[in-house]
Amino acid sequence: MSIISMRGSRCILSRGQLSKMLTTSSQRLLSVNKQEDLDERTRKIYDRIIRVDHAGEFGADRIYAGQLSVLEKTDVGPLIQHMWDQEKAHLAKFEELIGEYRVRPTILHPFWKVAGYALGRGTAMLGKEAAMACTVAVEESITNHYNDQLRELLALYEESGDEKHNDLMKIIAKFRDEEMEHHDTGLEHDAEKAPGFIFIKGSIQVGCKAAIWLSERV
């Protein structure tokens, strides 16, 4: 899998690089534990934020996997592959954060695994426009969700003046920008021409809201 460079000189990780990143993070020193630097209230907030973001990126990863399983050979195949690679990098980053902040991952993980794949595959089977519509819906939900989190973290930063909130804010802001790009890409590739676009978009966004609510708590 070769490295694809996209506009703005950002490189996408190849499979080899991604797996190397994952193995080094699991061998990381046992003594790295940022949870102890946080007070109780901040710990709870970070716990919730990182858990739901990890669940969200994992869901997105599975959705793209489902879509690609149907649309691999079509002309949007490489595009979906490229968006999937970005989501894989997001997922790897949140898995790293789970280790650093000792966050409990969502117990609904196996459920999102199946549901995400089914959603991706189902919309892809309706056609590539429907797949793009699904992308648009999901990415819009995720962008709004990340913006809410950024507002929350900003409020926390303004209250305490603590610099370490900036790290998480930078990460979430970067990922939000990439999700917005995916949203725009989906619109460019005829998402609105999908049959029942409003219905697909509406129902998926309701589902995303429910998934976010659940994964924040459970």
Partner: protein, 292 residues
């Protein structure tokens, strides 16, 4: 003309006279309980020997501020010395309060014997975390690294050994910990302990394995703890052997899960089907009789 008494000689005199912590007067104790944030009433006046003088306020240069927390710590320390005799009750706390130099009613700072037991397990877990951090730094060195299962086994043994001084009253302690007033705290503290052990053992799972690992460890820990309550062998050797057997079981389960996941779907179904059939035969009495 007053005889000049040097400060050191006077200090020695006081130290030899007051060998034990003197019981403070009732008025002073009321101050401790109702307004714990004020500075101590008994300012040391060295030459006024008629008033009870607190030993600590003379021998320490700075006076530690007395808060609810410090008083509770003192009562806890004294009460734990009496737990094997009087159990996990308000009586133990009140006797402990008296031993620490406060009135018996100071036990009201605690929410009954239940809170004594909860404080005990919290303190044990805090000590365990210190041990785990030490062991984790040893693990980082590839020369002294031990396998993860051995790390966990040693951590469980270390934590269970903390119960040994109180093992005679620990069955009551466990019962008290399950009282509805403190059950939520007990569960929270226990799950935090399981997470601590796995975290310092190096677990960084981000999927359902996070839950299965802690569930397994919980089962291991609590079953070993129960076995410890009935153990009469010297230095609880039977309990550690039980622990080793449970660790072996887990290793077998782990390798089983790995071998299953490497099979294809029809093979996997066949393996599970065979296991189910064997179980049914055993239940019906047709299987082998093997006790291990």
């Amino acid at each position: 003309m007053a005889r000049f008494v040097s400060r050191t000689r006077l200090l020695n005199l006081i130290n030899t006279t007051f060998k034990t912590a003197p019981i403070r007067s009732v008025s002073m104790m009321r101050t401790h309980i109702t307004s714990p944030h004020t500075s101590p009433v008994n300012k040391p006046t060295l030459l006024n020997s008629s008033r009870q003088i607190s030993l600590s306020s003379i021998t320490h240069n700075e006076e530690k501020p007395r808060t609810d927390q410090t008083v509770k710590e003192e009562i806890y320390t004294e009460a734990m010395k009496l737990v094997t005799e009087h159990g996990w009750t308000r009586k133990t706390l009140s006797l402990g309060a008296e031993a620490a130099g406060y009135a018996g009613v100071a036990e009201g700072l605690f929410n009954g014997g239940e809170e004594l037991a909860v404080s005990f397990i919290q303190k044990c877990n805090d000590e365990l975390v210190v041990y785990l951090k030490e062991m984790a730094t040893i693990q980082e060195n590839p020369d002294t690294k031990v396998p993860q299962s051995e790390f966990i086994r040693n951590a469980v043994e270390y934590r269970l050994r903390m119960l040994i001084p109180y093992i005679s009253v620990w069955p009551q302690g466990l019962a008290v910990l399950h009282s509805p007033f403190v059950l939520k705290d007990t569960v929270g503290i226990s799950t935090q302990m399981l997470d601590d052990i796995w975290y310092y053992a190096g677990d960084r799972s981000t999927d359902i394995n996070w839950y299965t690992k802690r569930g397994l460890l919980g089962k291991l820990y609590f079953s070993t703890q129960l076995s410890m309550l009935n153990d009469q062998s010297p230095d609880f050797q039977d309990t550690w052997k039980f622990l080793n057997r449970r660790m072996d079981d887990i290793k077998v389960m782990g390798s089983l899960a790995r071998s299953l996941s490497s099979l294809s779907l029809p093979q996997g179904i066949a393996e599970v089907g065979k296991a189910g059939l064997t179980s049914i035969c055993n239940i019906a009495g047709l299987g082998q009789n093997r006790r291990s």
